[in-house]
């Protein structure tokens, strides 16, 4: 009797675990193992011997330069997106604008944060390219040649403002609920205690909001860091950011060492991984105030 019941429990446990086998197999085969393969490969040379040489080779000037410009574009577009996104979210939550503006901004943000990739590059080429709407408008109406100022859409600055088109809406979507979580009572309490608006923001709002703000900025950073399609369609391979370098490496082994390509991928995972881990940690801190 006892043996029968234990085997029944065992069988049930086995069935329980069998239920997520398809998902686990899929995740292993198409997500985890391919990534681990690259990570492990980064520590071996083509002859199959263990080495740190690939990691060391990442610190050559050309690869370091690619990481540097990638990080700069991602940081700049994340900060710009965070700043403008914060003010937009603030305006619709606390700024007292009509509610239809809030709902249209949120709907639009849902669309624009998903409008990335190749078409986004086309949109900015048609706007700020050499014959784009804004460029032509400024030239014809103000006699101002945008491109004579050294501006170029196919550059660090151009890529940054293009990325901000999906970074700002993402920030709006993340921050609106956080700002909604600011309770009216807190403001009233601080006013009763004699705090100025500035003191209320510095001593109440910022300490509560900074995990959301920092976390969302990190998410924006990782979002820009892994993006390739927009940059590739915008600049071809003229702007040497990491995803484009990796793309060229996959296409034709431009680094002349497949294992160095693995190390390049590992570097990307490490950077996006760290920023996501920090984001998750900050989000759990932020959620304490949103209950």
């Amino acid at each position: 009797m006892t043996t029968a019941s234990t085997s029944f429990i065992d069988r049930r446990t086995v069935i329980d675990w069998l239920g997520i086998v398809p998902f686990m197999v899929f995740a292993l085969a198409f997500l985890i193992v391919p990534t681990l393969y690259l990570i492990v490969g980064a520590f071996f040379n083509p002859a199959g011997e263990f080495t740190f040489q690939n990691i060391a080779d990442l610190f050559s000037p050309s690869i370091l330069g690619a990481y540097w410009i990638s990080i700069r574009v991602s940081v700049a577009s994340a900060l710009g997106g965070a700043l403008i996104g914060f003010f937009l979210a603030w305006a619709v939550v606390l700024g007292g604008v009509p509610s239809w503006i809030r709902s249209s901004l949120l709907t639009f943000s849902g669309v624009a944060s998903n409008f990335a990739g190749v078409p986004l590059a086309f949109a900015f080429l048609a706007t700020l390219g050499r014959t784009g709407l804004v460029t032509v408008f400024m030239r014809d109406w103000f006699g101002f040649n945008l491109y004579s100022t050294g501006f170029n859409l196919l550059s660090f600055f151009g890529l940054t403002i293009t990325y901000m088109f999906f970074q700002i809406p993402l920030m709006v979507l993340i921050l609106t609920p956080a700002l909604d979580g600011l309770k009216k009572e807190w403001r009233e309490a601080s006013e009763i205690l004699g705090a100025s608006t500035w003191q209320y923001w510095r001593m109440v709002v910022l300490p509560i909001l900074w995990p959301s703000l920092m976390g969302a900025t990190l998410l924006l950073f990782a979002n820009a860091f892994g993006a390739i399609a927009t940059a590739y369609a915008l600049t071809g391979s003229s702007l040497n950011i990491v995803p484009i370098l990796l793309y060229a490496q996959i296409r034709g082994d431009v680094l002349h060492n497949p294992n160095l390509g693995y190390a390049l991928a590992l570097g990307m995972i490490v950077i996006t991984g760290i920023s996501n881990i920090l984001y998750i940690w900050l989000r759990t801190r932020a959620e304490r105030w949103q209950k």
Binding site: D16, G19, I20, P22, F23, A27, A29, F30, L31, I32, P34, T35, Y37, L38, I84, F87, L88, W90, A91, V92, L94, G95, G96, V97, I101, L105, T107, V111, A112, N114, F115, A116, G117, V118, P119, L120, F122, A123, F124, L125, A126, T127, T131, L133, M164, F165, I168, G226, I228, A229, Y232, A233, G236, P243, L246, A265, M268, I269, T272, G273
Partner: protein
């Protein structure tokens, strides 16, 4: 008017300028093909391009297959985790978020090394195999969105009671799954499906590196070779994204209205 209200309107104005000018610019540019007059020539040129129709159709088909495969994988998993393996929830949730952490280009790089024609699972050895691999890569990309929307929909129904009721009435598991669980999480399934559709239609990296004739690589090719058609295509792509998001809103509104929701 109070100072903070002026600032609020200023922020809205800056946002509106930032968002609308590129869209207006794109639309205006797409009308410029005929010299001296606005016309829809660029759109005509796009729609009559056989390659446009072929790649658009291919990506549509890929999106549909991705949605079906993805949902058949995710709905039962989310259901099972809620019902029987709640202790695995954090693990499954973590895995579904990984595609947001690992850049797509890294994932496809791994595929090309692991599943090339000389490996022991040669997906990329044949066209059909590559299509299968591309579908799986899209399912991977859509995993965070699909899982989240399905799991959110499942939170609002009592999975355990539904299952027990169905079991008492003598239902076997396919009946429970397809006639009980799926219809009840339909709003989540549909939102996940529409966002997946938007992602797959514009996806570039996977399709380009797996060498499949999808819409994303076609867009890139047109962008490199033509002047006005890219803007017309950007307008079309924006319309697709807008449509998908609009349908999600519609579905979630109907989901709230449906009487089966408590």
């Amino acid at each position: 008017m109070k100072a903070h209200k002026i600032f609020a309107w200023l922020a809205i104005a800056i946002g509106a300028i930032y968002f609308f000018i590129p869209l207006i610019g794109t639309f205006e540019f797409s009308l410029r093909m005929r010299r001296g007059a606005y016309s829809f020539d660029a759109y005509q040129s796009v729609f009559t391009d056989a390659q446009f129709r072929a790649t658009f159709g291919f990506s549509m088909l890929m999106a549909l297959v991705t949605i079906v495969v993805g949902m058949l994988l995710i709905v039962p998993t989310a259901y099972w985790v809620r019902l029987r393996l709640p202790q695995m929830r954090p693990v499954v949730e973590f895995i579904t978020l990984l595609p947001l952490v690992i850049p797509a280009i890294v994932i496809v790089f791994g595929y090309l090394r692991l599943y090339n024609s000389s490996s022991w699972i040669p997906f990329t050895g044949s066209t059909q195999g590559t299509n299968v691999l591309l579908t799986f890569s899209y399912v991977t990309l859509a995993l965070p969105y699909m899982y989240r929307s399905v799991d959110t929909a499942m939170r609002t129904i009592d999975v355990r009671t539904l299952t027990e009721a169905a079991e008492i009435l003598g239902a076997k598991w396919p009946t429970i799954m397809f006639r009980c669980i799926f219809p009840n999480v339909m709003s989540g399934v549909l939102s996940g499906a529409f966002i997946t559709f938007a992602i797959v239609m514009g996806e570039f990296t996977m399709a380009a590196l797996l060498n499949r004739p999808a819409f994303g690589p076609y867009l890139q090719l047109v962008g490199a070779n033509k002047a006005y058609e890219p803007s017309a295509l950007a307008v079309i792509a924006f319309a697709i994204t807008w449509l998908s998001m609009g349908l999600i809103q519609l579905v979630s509104r109907f989901g709230k209205l449906s009487p089966s929701r408590p």
